[in-house]
Point group: C2
Chain length 284, copies 2
């Protein structure tokens, strides 16, 4: 039986924010994640929004800064926020000491290159191991939604695109839309996945959209992007996502938000819209 060690509990909007430590078999290390349980969870199981954070984040950034609990409490949605990479002294980090690879930068893929393949399997953790744990131990249903920011926006998109039927809805804030063709993604993918760029396509939202079969699931994508985001042109490139969606007949709502940057002030300004988008789908 997987042991969950509760390391924090804070009352929040009539519900609870809690943090837990557990041993991840998939990642081969201890992991911390956070859960927001809305008041409705005391009366019966509620659906879950999985939130994937961006580079350098832990489970705490979103829970402390996004202001999501108010509307989650109104709508009766739990939120689960995992960490952004495996952690610990045994887990190799960026040999160059960078913040865009290794610890805090798991990129939500399954690495297949040594030494990364031993621990860096965030995709399996986020899609399978963590939901199985959450669904076994918390008052939640198997109705799931997924969202995230930046690297986590990329993560949310690929998790949904690779798993038809697993998520009721997906959205993203300032996602890395085409990691196979931007500096952050190329650095991470070349190490985690090796030099064969053909294998990268299985972990790239634009490529996955292009590869969706004609009768495949096409969950509407909701994406917010600040037009004053300093990473817009070099790393995020929402126009590539728009092109891929147009070519593939993939429904996309891409909102360019004037003056907004890459910070949590941007996320907080629009998180209500995303929660309502997910709630509508989770209810169906």
């Amino acid at each position: 039986m997987n042991t969950l060690e509760q390391i924090a509990a804070n009352r929040s909007f009539g519900g609870w924010h809690k943090r837990f430590r557990h041993r991840s078999a998939v990642l081969g290390c201890d992991m911390v994640f956070a859960v927001y349980l809305p008041p409705q969870a005391e009366d019966g199981p509620v659906p879950v929004l999985y939130w994937l954070s961006g580079l350098t984040c832990t489970d705490e950034n979103f829970m402390q800064k996004a202001g999501a609990q108010r509307v989650a409490a109104e709508l009766g949605i739990a939120i689960v926020a995992p960490d952004t990479s495996p952690r610990g002294a045994d887990v190799p980090g960026d040999p160059d000491g960078g913040w865009d690879f290794g610890h805090g930068a798991g990129f939500y893929v399954n690495a297949n290159q040594a030494p990364w393949d031993r621990h860096y399997r965030m995709y399996d953790y986020v899609v399978d191991e963590l939901p199985a744990l959450v669904e076994a131990r918390f008052p939640v249903t198997t109705r799931r939604a997924i969202s995230g920011h930046s690297m986590g926006g990329h993560g949310a998109l690929i998790c949904a695109l690779k798993n038809p039927g697993r998520y009721a809805s997906v959205s993203a804030f300032a996602p890395i839309t085409h990691p196979a063709d931007c500096p952050w993604g190329e650095k991470a993918f070349s190490r985690y996945l090796g030099d064969d760029r053909e294998t990268w396509k299985a972990w790239d939202a634009c490529e996955l959209i292009a590869a969706t079969p004609p009768d495949g699931e096409r969950l509407p994508l909701m994406v917010d992007q600040g037009d004053a985001d300093s990473f817009l042109a070099t790393q995020l490139r929402p126009e590539q996502l728009r092109t891929a969606c147009t070519l593939a007949g993939q429904p996309l709502t891409l909102r360019l938000q004037p003056g907004y940057d890459h910070s949590y002030y941007f996320i907080a300004s629009f998180i209500d819209d995303h929660l309502r988008h997910h709630a509508a789908a989770l209810r169906r």
Copy 2:
């Protein structure tokens, strides 16, 4: 002319969160403060809520974690968040290395004991110097409200009680209600103000309430306090505030919030109510 150096600007709920560095003549050091300007400030001056944070905080904690911008933008209120003490290598800190005195712990008093009296004059900074700067340089009116958390709740209460007519409204989250009679307050006051406890009364909410003349201003006090706050019994002691208010005929709304702790999750859960309380008074 006082120079304001802008060090950050983030679009937030249609307005702007900005941070500035300036030279404080009162404190004898450089200081950073944050401003939230709601969208209405583009059309004309708006009233200001001053927010005073608690021990160890800077201007950033409230702006990042309280989720106040959404309702401030709805109501058309600016928020100004100063730091919690003078800062810098020239400013002496706690000789024992504690976090409850010195840097991050100015207690919103004017120190009169060496070496603290050179820099630790947060009361004059918060009541006079900072509002004068803000009112000269930002699109704001002279309608002011004040609120804060813990040490900052104490600060908000004494600033309002000591300055009839200066604030339209006051509120506090988990304030140190009677610093002259709790460990945090006794440590800080004995150093900043010396051993004569009679002089402490001018900086203590309960004493100020007791000393208000019969015809003095009695601004209604709005206070939220979590009943699971680990500092409740030893440091905060809201029952002392209740007794002082009852004896003095001072209007008080004291809400004990079941299960809530001392964290920003507590503040975020109830900040909307406080903003609406202030907006109603600022409109009058």
